[in-house]
């Protein structure tokens, strides 16, 4: 820190050396103004969403939309939750997301750890195959996945060979199927464990620890950021998904949040008030996850970027 400060006399505080060193200290007002304008422009749509969500219908359909509701109301939220089926949909999405998060945190982590620390015959090739599946467009696997879900044996009236019934079509279980273990999460887990020293495990093995203990007691406690990232990825994969629920569900009982949102626009006119209230409700959980978990959220994203 001292040395860095000496090299750049313009620097006042050592903590500033990270990135601002190109223009040490100067041009700050300009930067702030540019940041402010950019951020306002980027966030403007969210402002409108929040504002519309609290506007009574008369204020929604007007030629001159105002930034703030004149007579704020919670009515739109009630309509969205009830008539819009969003209450049920949020429950459904939460249940599906929880199952998917747990499955990913267990199996993607175990697999990533194995690929990084316990390589076996063909593991390199298998890992490459897993990574390569992330390149496959959703459209390619959509129809086969639909038919597989329909043909799950002994489910939904199917016989042992998956014939005769609807399988897991229009069920919450069917909604989880394509998301249970994300190939990207396996990739992130492997990258993370590769970054931890092999010596940690060796030390445990010298002390006579089993492989499971080495994973559970030595490496997993160091992997909290990874668990957070995988959990966020798994949760958002389910919460944001639109195409799969659209294809695999049909009844109101299995509707997910994104589907419920899309239903606000069936038939020419859109009830923007309830639709915006619904959007607020659907965005809030994601926002909460993001605010509590920003660091690992962003870390996970760039992790995949810089290392991939």
């Amino acid at each position: 820190m001292k040395r860095a400060g000496m090299k750049r006399p313009g620097m006042k505080r050592a903590g500033m050396e990270q990135a601002g060193m190109k223009q040490p200290g100067t041009r700050k007002p300009g930067t702030l103004i540019a940041l402010g304008i950019a951020t306002i422009l980027v966030l403007m749509p969210f402002w409108w969403m929040a504002s519309m969500a609290f506007k009574p219908e008369a204020e929604v359909f007007t030629q001159e939309p105002r930034l703030l509701p004149a007579q704020p109301t919670l009515g739109n939220f009630a309509v969205a939750l009830d008539d819009g089926n969003l209450g049920r949909a949020m429950l459904n999405s939460t249940v599906v997301a929880l199952v998917v998060v747990v499955a990913n945190c267990v199996f993607a982590l175990l697999a990533g750890y194995a690929f990084a620390k316990l390589p076996f015959r063909g593991s390199g090739l298998i890992f490459m195959a897993i990574v390569s599946t992330t390149m496959v467009p959703v459209a390619v696997t959509l129809i086969p996945l639909f038919l597989i879900t329909k043909g799950i044996p002994l489910a939904g009236g199917n016989d042992l060979f998956g014939q005769g019934g609807a399988g897991l079509i229009d069920t919450l279980a069917g909604l989880t199927l394509p998301h249970l273990i994300g190939p990207l999460n396996v990739f992130l887990a492997r990258q993370f464990f590769l970054g931890l020293a092999d010596e940690l495990g060796e030390a445990g093995r010298v002390d006579g620890a089993s492989e499971l203990t080495v994973f559970w007691r030595i490496y997993l406690p160091l992997a909290k950021p990874l668990v957070a990232t995988v959990a966020v990825f798994a949760f958002t994969a389910v919460w944001d998904d639109f195409l799969w629920p659209l294809v695999v569900t049909s009844s109101a009982e299995t509707q997910t949040v994104q589907l419920a949102l899309s239903r606000f626009l069936t038939g020419g006119n859109v009830a923007y008030g309830p639709a915006m209230a619904g959007s607020v409700l659907v965005i809030l959980p994601i926002l909460a996850v993001f605010l509590f978990n920003q660091r690992s959220f962003i870390a996970g994203l760039s992790e995949g970027g810089v290392k991939g």
């Binding site: 930067t31 940041l35 951020t39 980027v42 298998i126 619904g278």
Partner: protein, 310 residues
């Protein structure tokens, strides 16, 4: 991949752990296989097998309403696509959409990253704000933008403010796709910005110091240090954006429903219609594989193209 190679030397020091038929290492391999087995089996069934199954379906005529099994028709579906005006139009729409969004989604994001890389008070908050659209579900933001573009929406009120006639952006064949593209640029900025930020922070500070000592100005440093340093991230960002943008669906579904007159019917949207509204699983699968091939070709080309330039 640099991190993987960095991690290797440490592994080499520990000793012969890769091959070796000795007891403990054989056990370790078995445990590794057991740890990875659930993921391998699952991904084989739900990721790899569907690709092969889809390839087979693309060679058949199959409707889920049929009682019978898929009927093998060879390459008929693919040959029919070559003559299908709707399919070719959808490819054109998809290509135009990607071409419109990509330069702005990358260029503006790079600018934002340079801005957000400055050390100012509370920069974390600014970054979070700029990143926000990235984390919000596409369906929800599409609904917001549906209103922004609507006759009573914000954009038309801005037009009215400067005395211009309102315009029905999403119902006009000439503007609908551009309107969706603008929304998608906005949506893509945050994610790309964060990737560029990571790339910027990975550039060694000593390079900037050396350049400054050689008398390089701000532009010269950007041109000769920043841009070359960002190349790996740039390749990644462009590739990933092509892959995502070429699969646009939810925003099309919400904003335009593919219209007006098919002017925003992307290939992905057409595949959905063909499969789940027309019940043509075979032909829809063929479309999906053509799209797959094109996305693969273009992302591969972007990797080679930018990777080689130096």
């Amino acid at each position: 991949m640099s991190v993987i190679t960095l991690a290797r030397p440490a592994a080499a020091r520990v000793g012969p752990r890769r091959p070796g038929p000795s007891g403990p290492s054989r056990r370790r391999r078995l445990v590794g296989l057991a740890f990875a087995a659930p993921a391998i089996v699952y991904l084989a069934v739900f990721q790899l097998f569907p690709v092969l199954y889809g390839l087979y379906l693309s060679l058949t005529g199959y409707s889920p309403l049929d009682r019978g099994a898929p009927r093998f028709v060879g390459l008929d579906n693919y040959l029919a696509l070559a003559d299908s005006a709707a399919f070719l139009q959808s490819l054109k729409v998809t290509a135009q959409f990607v071409a419109e969004v990509l330069p702005f989604a990358v260029g503006i994001a790079l600018g934002l990253a340079l801005l957000a890389n400055r050390k100012v008070r509370g920069i974390g908050l600014w970054r979070a704000g700029l990143f926000l659209p990235r984390i919000v579900p596409l369906t929800a933001v599409s609904l917001i933008w549906l209103w922004l573009y609507s006759p009573d929406g914000w954009f038309n009120s801005l037009l009215a403010g400067v005395g211009l006639q309102p315009h029905d952006w999403l119902l006009d064949e000439d503007t609908a796709l551009h309107a969706v593209a603008v929304m998608r640029v906005w949506k893509a900025l945050g994610g790309n910005m964060v990737l560029f930020l990571a790339g910027l922070q990975a550039i060694p500070k000593t390079l900037y110091e050396a350049a400054a000592l050689d008398g390089a100005g701000a532009w010269a440093r950007f041109r000769h240090v920043t841009l070359p340093g960002l190349r790996p991230v740039m390749v990644y960002v462009i590739t990933v954006n092509i892959v995502y943008l070429a699969q646009s669906f939810a925003e099309i579904f919400i904003l335009t429903g593919g219209g007006p007159l098919g002017s925003t019917t992307t290939t992905n949207f057409l595949i959905y219609q063909e499969a789940f509204q027309n019940n043509q699983f075979g032909s829809a699968s063929a479309m999906a594989f053509v799209l797959f091939a094109l996305i693969f070709a273009f992302s591969y080309a972007s990797m080679r193209g930018i990777g080689r330039r130096s």
